[in-house]
Amino acid sequence: MSALVAGTVISANYVPSARVLVNSWRRFHPDIAFRVLLVAEEPVCRDAAAAGLDVVRLGDLQIPDLAGMLARYDCLQLVTALKPAILRYLLEQGHEAVVYLDADMLVTGNLTPLLEQVAGHALCLTPHLPCARATVSREKLERSLLLAGLYNAGFVGVANRQESRQFISWWEQRLRTLSRKDKKRGYNYDQRWLDLAPSYVGDTHLVRDPGCNVGHWSIPEITVTRDGDGYRANDGPLRIFHFSGFDPRQPACLSRHGGRRSVNHAGFAPELFAEYAKLLHAAGWEQFIDAPWPWPRPAFWRRWWER
């Protein structure tokens, strides 16, 4: 059993994104497995496995109260709530360390320094803001982060230690019923809970490499430039880019979160977005975008549950 493994959680409409991510991962780390928890029915899982994904099925995970979660959550809530479950499952498989990556990411550089940090600490997180700077535009972002969560939940690294397992089981327990979006009251899916992680896990390590998990929140601290075959983030290599809120139907719009900025004025190389959109299309993005969610719930049900 290899020491390190990567994983993600997706629903059927993210199969192409996951294929793009896994291919970019394999380009740099062909020897490290990338497992994909696919929250979908069996035919979809079989097709995805045939397309080259290393699929984990919901039934493999032994999630307590899975039926309840399927009943009370919509697609996004369930997929975010299952992050701790895949971390737990992969640690139980005997891996020494697990990296979770969101499916809307792209690996653009060698991750060895990052993976060493993951293996060396109980918990690794990427803060949205890595340094102090007082500007007016920053203040707006800072205030939104206080409600959205300070650490980006698109990247979580855990090692197989007592402390990590305790943290994962706490996170899983909270997300069983409280994967909500109600920022004003202190909920933001899985992400807001991570604010408590440094309190609970003594060996929490914050990754300060500017090239790891760059996204729309990194403007204007981090500029991404084209460099030969790859990309650079400030002075170092760009390792992981997070296309949070990016929609290939509108490839000129950076993100549906960060203020609908244009990709041409973000300080990020526009080629990166063009390349990603091309990869998504090649992976069959159009056929999957409307994949139905197999466990729909009436709206009144959700309102009743979250009241």
Binding site: P127, L129, L150, D195, S199, G202, L206
Partner: protein
């Protein structure tokens, strides 16, 4: 230039708290108990208020700092924008930096309702190794029914407690303090729906912004109503322990000496009687507060409560001043009857 400025000496430490005149007895008790266990370390109190002849600095158990010592350029605006409680919270980064400028190598901030129960040498040692020291409200998931609800409360109020914070005199800490000052200068409100909780919520950024921070995991530091149920406070022969280790700093956030049956005004169902052995600590604190002149000080006026002509400043006026631009704020906002400046603008129905 601060006339107290002296050469930086990293081995010299100081502690500081902030009160208005009404809460002077809280500062007296904090200072007395601090000095009892940390002889030789100076304890400062910033008066977020004016003396108005109601105290004699020579007779107090602490060194007194005034608002004028903080080096705030728009001091009148700062005093006008905040209510009494908000002002004493908003002064925190200024008071700490004022002492760092005087050459102390490390400054420990203790919020007003605090009793020091043992020597703080472990904290001073940590301050030589790290830039900013913080105490998380919770060190582990709370062991109580409705644990998640308690965690959500903590998430809304801030993950780290603003009652015990240490700062070393280095670039990272000073940089963070200046950033924090920028956040609280205009507004230091409690509006959790917007992510505001006085000065405290901004501390959530410390681990992100200050690489050399350290979270104090000693369960005996910063015991308060938010973690009292988990800390298992015991009192034996006058010695207080929390989870078996010496309790060094006990916090009485929201405790009122004239309502000694209640742990905190923030939770009216939480009674001192239900806290077990900790009740003895509350009783001890209450006696000290009363001896420090609690009843007398409660009647003291607050210097920034009224305009110069004696009219009480409304909360609306304070909020309007926060949101006004520089031109609208011009002049002394306390001078209501001037032809120019904030008073005039506000009286004419000024809206931000």
């Amino acid at each position: 230039m601060d006339r107290h400025r002296i050469l930086l000496d990293m081995s010299r430490h100081a502690a500081v708290t902030i009160v208005s005149k009404r809460h002077l007895p809280l500062a007296r008790v904090t200072a007395q108990t601090f000095r009892e266990h940390n002889p030789g370390t100076p304890f400062y109190v910033l008066l977020a208020d004016d003396e108005q002849g109601l105290l004699d600095p020579a007779c107090e158990p602490f060194e007194l700092l005034h608002m004028e010592d903080l080096g705030i350029a728009e001091l009148k605006q700062f005093q006008f924008q905040h209510t009494e409680m908000e002002l004493s919270y908003a002064c925190t980064p200024y008071a700490v930096q004022c002492l760092l400028r005087r050459g102390f190598g490390g400054v420990l901030f203790l919020k007003q309702e605090t009793m020091v129960l043992a020597d703080l040498s472990p904290i001073w040692t940590k301050l030589t190794e790290h830039s900013v020291l913080l105490t998380p409200h919770l060190l582990a998931p709370p062991d109580r029914p409705n644990a998640a609800r308690h965690e959500i409360r903590v998430l809304r109020a801030g993950v780290y407690n603003g009652g015990v914070i240490g700062f070393a005199n280095d670039r990272e800490a000073n940089g963070f303090l200046e950033w924090w000052q920028g956040k609280v200068f205009r507004s230091c409100l409690r509006d959790t729906k917007l992510g505001c909780h006085f000065e405290q919520r901004w501390l959530d950024f410390v681990p992100s912004l200050v690489p050399r921070h350290h979270l104090i995991r000693d369960p005996g530091v910063n015991v308060g109503h938010w973690n009292l149920r988990e800390r298992q406070v015991q009192v034996q022969e006058g010695r207080v322990t929390a989870l078996g280790v010496p309790c060094r700093v006990f916090r009485f956030s929201g405790y009122q000496a004239d309502r000694p049956d209640m742990v905190t005004k923030y939770n009216r169902h939480y009674t001192v009687a239900s806290t077990g052995a900790a009740a003895a600590v509350f009783a001890r604190y209450q006696v000290l507060l009363m001896a420090a002149g609690y009843t007398e000080a409660k009647r003291f006026p607050y210097a920034y409560e009224r305009y110069d002509d004696g009219v009480v400043i409304s909360a609306r006026a304070r909020r309007a001043c926060q949101q006004a631009n520089a031109a609208q704020q011009a002049g002394n906002p306390f001078a209501r009857r001037r032809w120019l400046g904030f008073g005039r603008w506000f009286q004419k129905g000024g809206k931000a």
